[in-house]
């Protein structure tokens, strides 16, 4: 039996035992609606509020600053649209973000631009995939109503200076939102210390279930609903709460935060081993800053090969990973993240993202280090691009 290595934890994670067990009572016995006044409803309500308190504690927030949503994308949409509408009411229609945000942010901003006449400044993220607080400061205008910068990038794993950006925004009186979907449960996040006004998170990125997320919104800051209806979530998010999913999210996050130091030490060692191993492949490059990155994320490009082929051959060898090639994105262009850090199209097509979690082992890392060079070699052996490079008819870019 071939080894199975799941190395796509930035896409989604396996649920933890603690998360599954936290869910079960609310799927089976305690099925009441938290808005109902009889006891099975109130038991569900109690669980919901317990989960809210746990999640708030993990983020350095207060329970009444946490709103449950259906996913990270919903949280991003609500935060941005709310801040935009409140800004527009005061005549402020300028938003600052970065070129490599998740599509949940970029597409929301696009729509505000197209349909509501907002102006959007997308900051450069440089070759290392990090935006600096000074650049945010320089971009703030009198009519800026929102700055939204992700805490860590989902493709290349670079970590942004959130606390510094938050401080700049606080000083300028501009609302600061961060899409922290890849960061929460993986690196220390504290909304109070990091000057964050709004923050999005998603349960399935830290061993919780899919279909549940949360939005933190600082007390005193208005939050407009995206979904109208009942009075759930204090009128900010209608719809009967996903009690089981929310309880599982809280259990998963508590566990992730309790073990963060231990997990980080393990992951950094495995990550660095993989970076070192795969960097031995000629004409390869690590994408994003070497140091300022998530503990478990590696993203590399290999010249002369295309990402989808890499993934399919790796799948045959038991390795689940991902790529930012056009073929895997289903569009003409390769990943906007890789283009944003300045990679030429032809190089960006040959990207591989390996994202680990604490369930991965040293043997998994060794398997990846063994398989990837074989697959790259196999694809290069039939690549006209690579052959032209080898014959000197086409320049190597990396």
């Amino acid at each position: 039996m071939e080894r199975k290595v799941y190395a796509d934890n930035a896409a989604t994670t396996a649920m933890s035992r603690a998360a599954i067990e936290a869910m079960l009572p609310y799927l089976d016995g305690i099925y009441g609606n938290p808005s109902s006044l009889y006891s099975v409803g109130q038991q569900a309500k109690e669980a919901l509020e317990g989960a809210r308190a746990d999640i708030a504690a993990c983020l350095g927030a207060r329970p009444d600053e946490i709103y449950f949503t259906s996913c990270g994308s919903e949280s991003d949409n609500q935060a941005i649209r709310s801040a935009a509408r409140l800004g527009a009411a005061k005549g402020k229609k300028h938003i600052i973000s970065t070129a490599f945000e998740h599509h949940a942010v970029l597409h929301t901003l696009d729509r505000l631009k197209r349909e509501e006449g907002f102006e959007v400044t997308l900051l450069d993220v440089h070759k290392n995939g990090v935006v600096e607080a000074e650049e945010v400061k320089a971009a703030i205008r009198p009519d800026t109503c929102l700055v939204t910068v992700m805490a860590a990038n989902n493709e290349i794993g670079t970590v942004q200076p959130i606390a510094e950006i938050g401080a700049v925004c606080r000083a300028a009186g501009v609302v600061f939102h961060t899409d922290a979907v890849q960061a929460v449960g993986h690196i220390p996040v504290n909304v109070a210390e990091q000057n964050v006004d709004m923050l999005s998170l998603s349960a399935h990125k830290f061993h919780g279930p899919k279909g549940v997320g949360a939005l933190y919104c600082r007390r005193g800051l208005r939050l407009l609903p995206l979904i109208d209806g009942g009075a759930q979530e204090r009128g900010r998010r209608a719809g009967t709460e996903n009690v089981a999913g929310i309880c599982a999210m809280a259990a998963a996050l508590k566990e992730a935060c309790a073990n963060m130091q231990k997990n980080t030490a393990k992951l950094v060692a495995l990550r660095d081993e993989i970076i070192e191993g795969l960097s031995r492949i000629p004409h390869s490059v690590l994408n994003g800053d070497r140091q300022r990155r998530l503990p478990g994320t590696v993203n590399m490009c290999f010249e002369g090969v295309e990402g989808e082929g890499l993934l399919l051959y790796l799948d045959d060898m038991g390795v689940c990973a991902s790529s930012g090639s056009a073929c895997t994105s289903g569009s003409l262009d390769p990943s906007h993240v890789l283009l944003a850090i300045g990679l030429p199209h032809e190089v960006a097509h040959g990207s591989l993202r390996v994202s680990l979690c604490e369930y991965n082992t040293r043997e998994d890392a060794e398997h990846i280090i063994k398989c990837v060079p074989q697959v790259v070699e196999k694809l290069r052996a039939m690549s006209p691009v690579w052959k032209e490079m080898e014959r000197g008819e086409r320049p190597h870019v990396i």
Partner: protein
Amino acid sequence: MALYSEKVMDHFRNPRNVGEIPDADGVGEVGNARCGDIMKIYLKIKDGIIEDVKFNTFGCGSAIASSSMATELIKGKPLSQALELTNKAVAEALDGLPAHKLHCSVLAEEAIRAAIKDYYDKNGMEYDKSLFPEPDEDHEIHGD
């Protein structure tokens, strides 16, 4: 439910006719690296018959499988027959391609035509120009 048919996966895992022919009679290259796929076909031709064919492809799984299948379909065939090969025939022989991957079979058809045209041009042979429309440089057919 897999992304690709078993046939596609077979031709991707064990591509037929991979390689180059140093003294090829006709060479055709289509696509561009910017869009993420390039296909290069080499033909050895004798008495109007394709005696040998090899390919090199930079591209996704279906691009490699389409190249492999297309070369199988024309090997040993007269040029007139190879010119009749359509992208549809390549896709069908692979038991179908996902809609957004059909352009890979188009590339295979275009690469073969380009190689045959190269052979005609090199040998100063007469041919019906309408058989060889200019390949779509911008590769706009990507997607559906």
